[in-house]
Subunit: 422 residues, 2 copies
Amino acid sequence: MTVSPRPIDLLVTGAAEVATPLGTTPRGGAELGAIRVLEDGAVACHDGEVVAVGPAAELAGAYRATETLDAAGGTIVPGFVDAHTHPVFFGTREDEFEMRVAGRSYVEIARSGGGIAASLEGVRDNSLELLLERLLVRLDRFLAFGTTTVEAKSGYGLTLVDELKCLRAIDTANRAHAVDLVPTFLGAHDFPPEYRGQHEAYVTLLVEEMLPAIAESHLARYCDIFTEAHVFDLEASRRILGRARELGFELRMHVDQLTPLGGAELAAELGAASADHLEHVSDAGIAALAAGGVIPVLCPLVPLYLRETQEAPARRMVNEGLAPALATDFNPGSCYTQSMPEVLTWAALRYGFSAAEALTAATLNAACSLGLGAELGTLEPGKAADLLVLDVDNYHHLTYELGRNPVRAVVKRGRVVLGAAE
Amino acid sequence: MTVSPRPIDLLVTGAAEVATPLGTTPRGGAELGAIRVLEDGAVACHDGEVVAVGPAAELAGAYRATETLDAAGGTIVPGFVDAHTHPVFFGTREDEFEMRVAGRSYVEIARSGGGIAASLEGVRDNSLELLLERLLVRLDRFLAFGTTTVEAKSGYGLTLVDELKCLRAIDTANRAHAVDLVPTFLGAHDFPPEYRGQHEAYVTLLVEEMLPAIAESHLARYCDIFTEAHVFDLEASRRILGRARELGFELRMHVDQLTPLGGAELAAELGAASADHLEHVSDAGIAALAAGGVIPVLCPLVPLYLRETQEAPARRMVNEGLAPALATDFNPGSCYTQSMPEVLTWAALRYGFSAAEALTAATLNAACSLGLGAELGTLEPGKAADLLVLDVDNYHHLTYELGRNPVRAVVKRGRVVLGAAE
């Protein structure tokens, strides 16, 4: 009996290997590095989804593809999911970087009018159109670095109208661009200067006016907060996030970044989807995250970029069974990079992650932190056909190569959006 | 009186700024960051040299260019000079990287047959043509990252015939490729396995056979050595380099990288052009380098890549008046990167170098370490027209942006070799 080949949209073939984590749930502990590596593998895509991953010779016989993407001896991996970014801002802050390099601290720079406050003006003074234009350029760069899904926070407006402007820019960019954006409201990023000395009043504004209006706009899936003693302390955080949860937001939190405040414990208590940064997390905090099934989103470049000495105890978290995600934390102040390849290398160097562990954290676990584990983050039938062709002959180069972007082609929802198919 | 415009080959114009160090001698101390920044500047090039740097409007009137390169609001800087690389090897060593990430040390990996020994086979077993093919691909990458001159070491052959093969590959690549290579003989990179237990005999081989034959070949300008207790100790180093000097080589040295052996002092004693690495240099070593006018070649990424904690005391060296150069140390084991933009950012983050300091160290000072300060490393009349157009509106982005290559166009000896002129 002869079975005629099934017609499909796209076959990605000619790869030295396909490397992918497996499953739909976060992988922690020893499972973090348990990826599947298929030599001479290929990926069949149809209707935006993966329909098969298997030996190239087998797939060539089983499918007749409208388009073929030649991986030319490269490596196929899932598209990166960047689980923590602040991409809506106007100007850059290289002046502040030079100050920090000259020896001034994050808090010092913030107190002298730099930091988050420095980006407020740019967002408040510029139109949605101008913000959108900059955002779209940044999405091109995310895509060039192989990031196919981006968690995108507001948080440089800090008035209802300016936060809505940022979330509308995210929404419009999401519709216009191949990269998928997952929107997060971060009105609790800092206290705006006009609320200096009236922090309680800004918390009340958030709880009584901003959160309900943002909820009604349906422009944000997550609510995030910068929980730290000098900004939103545990009590304010509990009040804001409690209200957000009532209004239907899911929660993400910046916690224990600069001091061991107990933010991780609060994230677990509130059932947050993710607890991010965690440079100063305590043992109790790690235990709480493990018990609560909260995903730690780790940003290995941030303390290095801030010239801080304390880094997240990533290996300890993994040993405790946690399933970390990796992220750039792309923003104009504390980490001006959009490169997940860069993040993977530094996760290896600073956390001791193997390339397989880093890959899982940057794809499947990151997707799970966004509630998208069933749809994204691995190359398996039924998942979105979001994949990369890297110009290296094995996935170990993801961490081994430093400072070079190995992404040669990007497929998003089954469409070749970077590089050329035939 | 009307003066008619002078015909020239190339005008690079339309830049937000031109940023360049000045002069022909190494800049240290407070002068390290004393660069010239010219807003709306342009660069006129003729016969491979810079003929003028000045306001775009002025140069547009003074010159009639055959070709124009539009910097499109970007920044013009001199081409990078990478003062320390090991670019002649065959295979990559990602397996070893994974071992290191899993917790094993440089010396442990070397003792288990990894390290330099792992690259010997690849060089010995492959032809000049195959080594050359790989080298030329790497030169394309250097150029893409804005490096227009590369110091290139042999050192993965460690027999006369294999070292000559490497140096011939460098010589052939130098003639064939736009990137200029400065060749260095590094037969004293390690003891080859066939000399295990007979180190004295290998030193004698170097002194009596290899060095004279390499000198006669005229394929190397410099002689380099890995001075470290477990490889070439001070006595062996003195013997080898003394002979090299007699034979007409100029000297470079790997010193005080893993232990404070006193290699810096020896470099000063021998009048070496550069002392490289220096993570463990002593105060006496710094004083000796300063007294001897030796250029420290710093590789900020190497200890990070090796997961070592000790980094070069770069700021202390600058304060003592030293004029550091920056380099990648590109090699398949201890630093797999070819990106000078990456090096500049980490020089800022780890050494506290301002963007201006990093730029001087990566251009003028690096050129001086290769005896090319009169020809290269700044944009001034009479110097080689080796320049970059960066897609950023000021030079501070050289350090501020992490993990992205900002090089949009490269001019080498007055010719546009990357990006398009009109």
